[in-house]
């Protein structure tokens, strides 16, 4: 059989097809946001300021990437914020400042805990078939409870080299060459790149496809021979790994754990994912665009800060911008879908 390339009558040209992809509206919004931020903050593009920005934006980016994975699989995670707190508490609970080796142990134990968290969420949602919203809302209190048990007040111990997850420059004993890397490549960016590589490898295997299939139509995926419950568990475990990476960054930055700081992140990750063009109904979206969504959400706050808007109005404006961003991308995706199918014979 000769594979031929043909052009169905409905087809748009290659460029047009690229532009009408629903996610791409978020890129447009990002460009506008960056332009506004550049205007308001004169030194936006200067090296030190950019590094600060990346450090501030990094955690939400990592968490949103994880949220994107569960959203694409047709589920949702409302426990990622408290899970983040839990991991920082476990890390600082295990580590001893005077024993550098305890850092490795803490990482291994926390990673195991993260996998467990993913399995618990995924098992309840995938096998027990409880609504993901209910499951993860409930487990968020579980994680909070355990975190408070381990660390009733913020604090704890951390090994010195953990600072490497935040800034190489503060780590004594590292060769000067590596330490200088931090001035243009902050560790959080490395963590994000690590997440991207992790996802890229996954998406080259069947799992990436299966996540989309289960999120798109669970029944069809099941009939096609996919173990849908296992796919959902995998989604939650992958999500946990991203949350774990964010926890490494936080402990590196603060050298302490806090049972209460993570929760406000939860809903922001969902908003960021939606702004990044990931459908709450599942099956659609890319985790690379989750990064774009997280950048937009963070830039909104930054712009409001630099525009000198009073705090009370600030949150109001932030809310309005998020609604416009989400509404705009929804309208746009509806329009682009119609454009792609227009002219097709019924």
């Amino acid at each position: 059989m000769q594979p031929t390339t043909r052009k169905p009558r409905w087809a748009l040209s290659g460029v047009a097809r690229l532009v009408v992809r629903p996610e791409y509206s978020s890129l447009l919004i990002l460009v506008v946001m960056v332009a506004v931020a550049t205007l308001l903050q004169r030194n936006f593009w200067s090296g030190p300021s950019l590094l600060l920005t990346i450090d501030a934006f990094g955690p939400l980016i990592l968490l949103t990437m994880g949220q994107a994975v569960v959203l694409v699989a047709g589920t949702l995670d409302l426990s990622c914020g408290t899970a983040l707190s839990l991991y920082t508490c476990i890390l600082t609970f295990v580590m001893r400042t005077n024993q550098p080796a305890s850092g490795v142990l803490a990482i291994l134990i926390t990673l195991a805990a993260a996998v467990m968290v993913g399995i618990v969420n995924g098992f309840a949602a995938g096998y027990l078939r409880v609504s993901p919203v209910v499951v993860t809302f409930a487990t968020s209190f579980l994680w909070l409870g355990i975190a408070l048990f381990l660390r009733p007040t913020p604090g704890g111990q951390s090994v010195g080299w953990f600072n490497a997850f935040y800034d190489f420059r503060n780590v004594s004993g590292l060769p000067a060459a590596i330490r200088s890397v931090s001035s243009f490549l902050p560790p959080v960016l490395i963590l994000i790149l690590l997440g991207c590589v992790f996802w890229y490898a996954l998406s080259r295997g069947p799992m990436g496809r299966y996540l989309c299939a289960v999120g798109g139509n669970e029944e069809s995926a099941y009939r096609s021979g996919i173990n849908t419950a296992r796919v959902q568990i995998s989604a939650y475990v992958i999500n946990s790994v991203f949350v774990f990476l964010a926890a490494l960054f936080f402990v590196g930055q603060n050298q302490s754990g806090d049972a209460r700081f993570g929760d406000p992140f939860t809903l922001r990750t969902i908003a960021a994912a939606v702004v990044g063009g990931i459908a709450l109904t599942g099956g659609r979206g890319s985790i690379y665009f989750a990064i774009v969504g997280a950048l937009i959400i963070e830039l909104v706050n930054k712009i409001i800060f630099f525009a000198n808007i009073p705090y009370a109005y600030g949150t109001l404006v932030a809310g309005a911008i998020v609604i416009i961003a989400i509404g705009g991308s929804q309208l746009y995706s509806g329009y682009s879908r119609r454009a792609m199918t227009r002219g097709r014979a019924p």
Partner: protein, 510 residues
């Protein structure tokens, strides 16, 4: 060689017996046609073989041994692939991704997408040249989706391929191309079971045919030896009992003027150029095979498709079918087919369900006269003989028949000009069905109400309708009147026996 032999299969769903004595065989290299009216057990039989359901009794021999499949994967592993009536495609993936879904080609741990694309493209090119495998399934036409579904089943290299009404969504040219492919597959020694409602298709493509009626296998024919006689097969499908039709309703010649005039109603592929007139005080039946647009026509008239095209006139006034509320305002009231999801608030009380539509059309700014409503509700319960222990029990606790009466009852106090009944007696017991139709025929005679009745049971059409309109693929293909309303005639028109000859003639040309 006989690869499949299913004997004495029984299957119940709750109180409904779907199959009482199902028998079906299939041979390698031959195409077996599966025929029967709606609800005769064809789909149930296919699904038992494919492992979707398990049989209550009877045995399935496959490849020389008795098999009991717990799920479709086990059957698939044994080489049984089924193309489902409701498809198993994932809408957000491309055609080729769907075709290889669950059985992806891999190089090491990674997907080999190039190989998968080529594999999928090769299969699709055979079935429907011109379908781009890179397209997202969401944007395909129903026919293209069906082809993708078939390609998916074929890609698993089955030894037994079950096709459950694969042609329902296809155009004639696509059907012809599918048939060529089926022949080729049969030539490779694959056994094929082919279900279709179109008799001419079975006549053209099948080597054997098995006829189901009321959950039983009533005939197994070798079309080569026994001849391709459509009349005889229709006889098996309808059965002798169907000929004894007793009219419960005395058809009258209706000289009234038309109350509803529909011209060129069209909605995508669901409804095509539908034109008809409904007279005042008439019960107009809609018949045909399942899924030919009857349900959609009812929904369309009730205003569920805002972007519908065509002209609808009610009492000489142009009616815009823009929303259900608009239809209700014009006294065109729908009793929907799926009462559990479209007609009732299952967990709410009988009273709430009956009162609810009133709150929508009238406004009571200060106080809702619940006392008056309860009185009305009590009358409704009496009029329709709804069997209930009180007005405040949740509707979900009533029997199916009484639930259906509630759906009708909520419109009772409305001035009804046109009542749209979408399969009102489906899953309703005999007594409740009689109560329901008694009430409706009384309203028609006494108040001059007009009714459009879609019923999946042809007997109901024969018993209660003044005229019967037959739909096929979204079109009105025949209107039966007076003496010609018999179940036989309805089935003949539904299956388009006249086009059997066309189909045969067409085949002779090639």
């Amino acid at each position: 060689m006989k690869i499949l032999e299913a004997r004495g299969i029984r299957k119940r769903f709750g109180g409904v017996v779907a199959l009482s004595d199902g028998n079906l065989g299939a041979q390698e290299g031959r195409i077996t046609g599966l025929l029967g009216a709606n609800g005769s057990g064809k789909s149930t039989m296919s699904k038992i073989i494919a492992g979707v359901y398990s049989a209550d009794a009877g045995e399935v021999w496959y490849n020389g041994r008795v098999v009991h499949y717990g799920n479709p994967h086990e059957a698939r592993a044994d080489g049984i692939a089924m193309v489902y009536q409701n498809l198993s495609l994932v809408p957000n993936l491309t055609v080729w991704q769907n075709i290889v879904l669950g059985a992806e080609e891999k190089t090491g741990p990674f997907l080999n997408n190039r190989q998968a694309r080529e594999h999928a493209r090769a299969i699709v090119d055979d079935l429907l040249p011109g379908l781009d495998v890179e397209r997202i399934v969401d944007g395909l036409s129903p026919g293209e989706m069906q082809i993708a579904e078939i390609a998916k089943a074929i890609s698993k290299r089955p030894r037994l391929l079950i096709l459950d009404e694969p042609t329902a969504a296809l155009e004639l040219a696509q059907v012809k191309s599918l048939f060529l492919h089926m022949r080729r597959l049969a030539g490779q020694g694959i056994a094929i079971v082919f279900t279709s409602h179109r008799l001419w298709e079975v006549m053209e493509i099948c080597d054997d045919t098995v006829v189901f009626r009321n959950g039983q296998t009533v005939a197994t024919l070798d079309l080569e030896k026994d001849g391709r006689d459509p009349a005889k097969i229709i006889g098996y499908i309808t059965g002798e009992t169907a000929r004894v039709a007793q009219a419960a309703y005395h058809r009258r010649e209706n000289r009234n003027a038309a109350i509803l005039r529909v011209t060129n109603l069209a909605q995508g592929t669901l409804l095509r150029e539908i034109s008809f007139a409904l007279k005042k005080g008439e019960i107009l039946g809609i018949g045909g095979l399942a899924g030919q647009g009857q349900r959609e026509l009812m929904l369309a008239l009730a205003g569920f498709y805002p972007d519908i095209t065509g002209h609808v006139e009610l009492d000489g006034r142009r009616l815009r079918l823009t929303s259900p509320a608009e239809a209700v305002r014009n006294s065109m009231l729908l009793v929907p087919g799926d009462r559990e999801s479209e007609g009732l608030f299952l967990r709410h009380s009988l009273f709430s369900n009956i009162v609810f539509p009133k709150l929508g059309v009238r406004h009571y700014p200060l106080l809702t006269p619940f006392g008056k409503f309860r009185e009305e509700c009590r009358r409704t319960v009496d009029t329709l003989s709804i069997r209930t222990t009180g007005l405040d029990v949740p509707v979900r606790t009533l029997s199916g028949g009484n639930q259906q009466k509630v759906v009708v009852g909520k419109w009772l106090s409305f001035d009804t000009r046109v009542l749209l009944l979408s399969d009102p007696a489906k899953g309703v017991d005999v007594g409740a069905k009689r109560d329901l139709y008694d009430y409706i025929t009384r309203r028609v005679r006494e108040d001059g109400m007009s009714v459009i009745l879609y019923a999946s049971d042809n007997q109901e059409l024969v018993d209660y309708c003044d005229r019967v309109m037959i739909m096929y693929e979204g079109r009105v293909v025949a209107i039966l009147e007076g003496e010609s309303i018999t179940t036989d005639k309805i089935i003949e028109s539904s299956m388009r026996v006249d086009s059997v000859r066309e189909g045969a003639g067409d085949a002779a040309h090639h």
